[in-house]
């Protein structure tokens, strides 16, 4: 196979704009899969991904396509579609020479599409714009075409019209991939440099890493080195990715493949790392490598205190195939022993919680998530103290200042909702940095905003105030000084550490009040009165009273009532099992996340 017959590309699209369906059509059209093997959304193979309709872990697949008498090798590199995974997206893009920019002809360009498009342009990818779902009655191709032209400065005739659902335009897309996307460039004789853009955990074979050979070639059996981690392995098996893996003796320059080398843990393989030959190493690693850092932290505790060791074992297993999950033991006066876990974002946190439940049958309590703060003490004003947990919040009198992480948030919405989005962003301590009308109807707004505000119900509220017509993306932009306070919650005068939250002083009274109100709603009435208080230090800032339960019996219990009543009480008892007793108060799981749902 010659380098000039290789095309490496990815698909940039917003969730639901038809990326997975388009991928399916490309695979069918190139006969990479037979009808028998056809499954909808072929590239997503975790149950969870299928249910949520998002691609969490990226994969790659190789197709052969005949054009003008030449057989081309097309490597389609799939990219994750959520902001939590933006670093992985950047590495997948770095492995490509071109990208299909897929835009829904009815919905137009969304924030996520734009941020990924910018990433692709940064890497000089050839962009092939594709207008998808043109068959929909609600399609508005002319307007969306204008948006695309504005955005990437292409000619109208460069935009391909397609319907992945009906198969319209698939052939044009494949032809454009061959004609417009350049073949990879690289030196076949140089020392090996292969870029790892993804990895998955296979319980039988260990870690499978996916790479693109940038220079040189990789041979089966040779000793290789991962340049950033410094580890050495043997390339026990290498190959290309068809519908399944097909092993090869060698993968040449410009091509995409997989390597299996007996690695047991995901954390040994870092996305963005460079594979080189041990005997003849490259002088430098490929640029752009970053250690992925967790952005959001929360405590995870077993509902049953005796399941602590089981929880540890489950988290360890999860970490085998999800290196971005971090955890360390912590203890809470209210909840006992658990783990402080780090996640890439809120979606990642939800996924971990769901996987614990589904794959390990672990029922857990998740505490209020927070970001990572830096505290600088008066004594040592130059050394930062990392605060990943409200319980680590230093004594305010001894603290010189505190910093919190900020993000650049991009929001694209209909012009009608600009006011509402602006109000929300300001409430969330956002500062408008830029506002651009993409068309007369669609506006792109850029804000500087504390990451912590995104953690607290920002995304849900954005969707609801814009009736779904707002898309959102963000990137971290470093730390800024901030005035944070710790809001504690007390039940009948007893502080419940697991309910504490770090909140900006300007919002603290309001949020303290809302926390109390929400807890009143979520904690079931018990046989005694419960005082719910929020406090900053010794100062009480809000109070609610949950009156005592005075009656817990139905008046009638005759022949026709017994079955129904038994089932009802069994259900109640099951609900009680998921509650945690703190002092003498029983607290349901969802109360620990009350602070996230203050506006529901």
């Amino acid at each position: 196979m010659k380098m000039k017959e290789i095309r490496n590309f990815c698909i940039i699209a917003h969730i639901d704009h038809g990326k997975s369906t388009l991928a399916d059509r490309l695979l069918e059209h190139t006969q990479t899969i037979s009808d028998r093997e056809k499954k909808d959304q072929l590239l997503d193979d975790m149950d969870l991904e299928r249910e949520r309709g998002i691609t969490i872990k990226s994969h790659a697949i190789q197709m052969n396509y005949l054009s003008n008498g030449e057989v081309y090798t097309l490597n389609l590199i799939d990219t994750p579609g959520h902001v939590d995974f933006s670093y992985e997206v950047s590495r997948a893009i770095a492995a490509c020479e071109g990208a299909l920019l897929v835009v829904d002809a009815a919905q137009g360009i969304q924030a996520q599409t734009i941020s990924n498009l910018y990433l692709a342009l940064e890497h000089d990818l050839e962009i092939i714009p594709v207008l998808n779902k043109v068959d929909l009655p609600s399609a508005n191709p002319d307007e969306v075409k204008d948006q695309i032209i504005d955005l990437i400065g292409c000619e109208e005739e460069d935009i391909l019209m397609a319907s992945a659902k009906t198969g319209l335009g698939i052939n044009d897309i494949l032809e454009a991939v061959v004609e417009r996307i350049p073949a990879p460039e690289g030196d076949p004789d140089a020392p090996l440099q292969a870029l790892i853009f993804d990895s998955v955990y296979n319980p039988y074979r260990g870690i499978e890493a996916f790479f693109k050979v940038v220079n040189g070639k990789i041979r089966k059996g040779e000793q290789v080195k991962f340049m950033n981690t410094g580890s050495k392995y043997y390339a026990d098996e290498i190959g290309v990715l068809k519908l399944g893996q097909e092993s090869r003796k060698e993968i040449g320059t410009g091509n995409v493949g997989y390597i299996i080398s007996g690695i047991k843990e995901a954390k040994e393989v870092k996305v963005g790392d460079t594979i080189t030959s041990f005997e003849r190493p490259a002088s430098a690693a490929i640029e752009g490598f970053e250690n992925v850092k967790p952005m959001v932290f929360a405590g995870i505790y077993p509902v049953d205190t005796e399941e602590f060791e089981e929880l540890r074992a489950s988290l360890e297993k999860l970490q085998l195939n999800d290196a971005s999950l971090t955890f360390e033991p912590e203890s809470s006066a209210a909840l006992g022993f658990g783990f402080r876990c780090g996640f890439l974002g809120m979606l990642h946190m939800e996924i971990i919680q769901e996987r614990l439940d589904r794959e390990f049958n672990m029922t857990v309590i998740t505490t209020v998530p927070n970001v990572s703060y830096y505290a600088y003490m008066k004594k040592e004003p130059d050394s930062k103290v990392i605060v990943n947990n409200p319980s680590e919040f230093p004594d305010p009198t001894k603290m010189e200042r505190m910093e919190e992480p900020y993000i650049k948030a991009q929001i694209i919405t209909k012009a009608d909702y600009v006011g509402a989005v602006m109000n929300l962003a300001i409430e969330k301590r956002g500062q408008l940095k830029n506002q651009v009308y993409l068309t007369s109807e669609r506006v792109e707004m850029t804000f500087d905003m504390p990451l912590a505000e995104i953690v607290f119900d920002f995304y849900d509220r954005l969707k609801s105030i814009s009736r779904g017509y707002a898309s959102f993306d963000y990137h971290p932009v470093g730390y800024r000084e901030s005035d944070m306070v710790k809001v504690d919650v007390m039940l009948n005068g007893e502080p419940v550490d697991a309910l504490s939250a770090l909140i900006h002083r300007s919002n603290s009274y309001d949020i303290g009040k809302k926390i109390c109100e929400k807890l009143k709603e979520l904690i079931p009435r018990q046989q005694f009165m419960i005082a719910i208080q929020a406090a900053i230090g010794a100062k009480i800032i809000a109070r609610e009273t949950l009156s005592a339960l005075r009656k817990d019996v139905t008046a009638k219990c005759y022949g026709g009532d017994i079955s129904r009543k038994r089932k009802l009480l069994e259900k109640q008892k099951a609900g009680k099992k998921r509650m945690r007793q703190v002092g003498n108060v029983e607290i349901p799981q969802q109360a620990f996340l009350a602070v996230l749902k203050l506006n529901d």
């Binding site: 046989q527 009156s547 339960l549 005075r550 009656k551 817990d552 019996v553 139905t554 008046a555 009638k556 219990c557 005759y558 022949g559 026709g560 017994i562 079955s563 009543k565 038994r566 009480l569 069994e570 109640q572 008892k573 099951a574 009680k576 099992k577």
Partner: protein, 388 residues
């Protein structure tokens, strides 16, 4: 595998069984009621024949022994002619036999209990009445959309003695919106005035799909548990002072006047339920007829049954035992707990210990019961003891 049936069990199910007959007709709908009924007059004749046919088709459901109780409930059984009630009793006598001392109860509303009706009833085999008085106050009755007036309530109680009915019960409802403790005490005074032998007092409960639920959701009616709890306390004091046994959560009797038929629900003995929506139980399974008059009649027209059933596992029986016995003054007997498999006995030991420690459960010579101050929490306490 055959489940080990304990001695206790055999004893329960070889003791006498009862029959419940659901008469699914009413003059009008009370705002709180979620029982099955129709206010249409059609089908009333056909229903009697269908119920008799159902009794014949299900002859083998109960052990072949004389019935110890028959209960006509509803709906409003007093809206059908007494001749129909007698036909059903006769059919049951032919199928099972009726014990000489059997309790035969008819639910009736005050507006139906006129002199002519009572005359006819006094000549029938019916020997106990359960009268839906609910309140002696006109405003309460109209709020609840009852068919009778306060005057009719008083009038029927005055007539009962005249016709020789000394075994009867009345229903009262407390915890009504705007009902003060004084109102409720005034209601209970009537029990004394008429020397009522048995009464049921129910806390007004909002059942889904009732007019009351609608009014509550709309905010037109507000029910407070605090009021119900206060009234329940007054009720307990009243019963104690006036010599009523508070033998079941909502039932009170002069000694010797406890309800026999309803006791079978709380004591776990067998009962056959006939008519639309009626439930049956024979120790192993519970079944229930479709809650729809037309479907019920249609099935029986074709000699079939419109019946659903569930088989009760030991766990279900254990939980039901807790749920029903803990409503009783006598509570749960040690003997009955020991009739369950060892795993349930161990479970009981472990879970009951916690409740004994908090005083929500007390032990006495024959068993365990919920003390009076915790009786208004019986369901929650039973659920704490459930085996899941």
């Amino acid at each position: 595998m055959k489940e080990p049936l304990s001695e206790f069990f055999y004893q329960s199910f070889h003791s006498l069984a009862g029959a419940y007959i659901h008469i699914p007709f009413c003059k009008q709908a009370c705002i709180y009621c979620d029982f099955h009924f129709s206010t249409l007059e059609k089908d009333r004749g056909a229903m009697t024949m269908a119920i008799i046919k159902e009794a014949q088709l299900r002859k083998d459901f109960l052990p072949q022994q004389a019935l110890k109780s028959i209960y006509f409930g509803g709906g409003t059984p007093s809206v059908v002619p007494i001749a129909d009630i007698e036909k059903i009793i006769e059919a049951l006598d032919n199928l099972y036999g009726i014990d000489a001392s059997a309790e035969i109860t008819l639910e009736a509303n005050p507006d139906d209990l006129n002199e002519a009706y009572l005359t006819e009833l006094s000549r029938s085999p019916v020997n106990r009445l359960s009268i839906g008085i609910q309140s002696f106050k006109e405003a309460d009755l109209s709020f609840m959309n009852r068919a009778h007036s306060a005057k009719e309530a008083i009038g029927c109680l005055e007539s009962l003695a005249k016709y020789g009915f000394d075994n009867y019960s009345i229903d009262l409802i407390y915890g009504l919106p705007n009902q003060s403790p004084e109102d409720w005490l005034w209601q209970m005074e009537h029990l004394k005035t008429f020397d009522i032998p048995h009464f049921s007092a129910y806390a007004l409960t909002v059942e889904s799909k009732t007019k009351l639920a609608y009014l509550q959701a709309k905010g037109a009616v507000e029910l407070k548990d605090e009021n119900a709890a206060k009234h329940f306390e007054l009720l307990q004091d009243f019963a104690k002072k006036e010599g009523y046994e508070h033998y079941e959560l909502s039932n009170f009797a002069r000694p010797g006047k406890r309800a026999v038929h309803n006791g079978s629900y709380w004591e776990g003995t067998a009962y056959l339920g006939l008519g639309p929506s009626a439930h049956s139980y024979n120790g192993k399974e519970r079944s229930w007829n479709v809650a729809n008059n037309a479907l019920y009649l249609k099935a029986l027209e074709q000699d079939g049954l419109a019946l659903e059933k569930e088989i009760l596992e030991e766990k279900d029986r254990f939980n039901e035992m807790l749920m029903t016995r803990l409503r009783l003054l006598e509570g749960i007997s040690e003997r009955e707990i020991n009739s369950f498999s060892p795993v349930f006995q161990r479970h009981w030991l472990k879970e009951s210990r916690k409740l004994l420690a908090t005083g929500k459960l007390v032990q006495f010579s024959e068993g365990y019961r919920i003390p009076s101050e915790w009786r208004f929490f019986s369901d929650g306490i039973a659920a704490d003891l459930f085996y899941t």
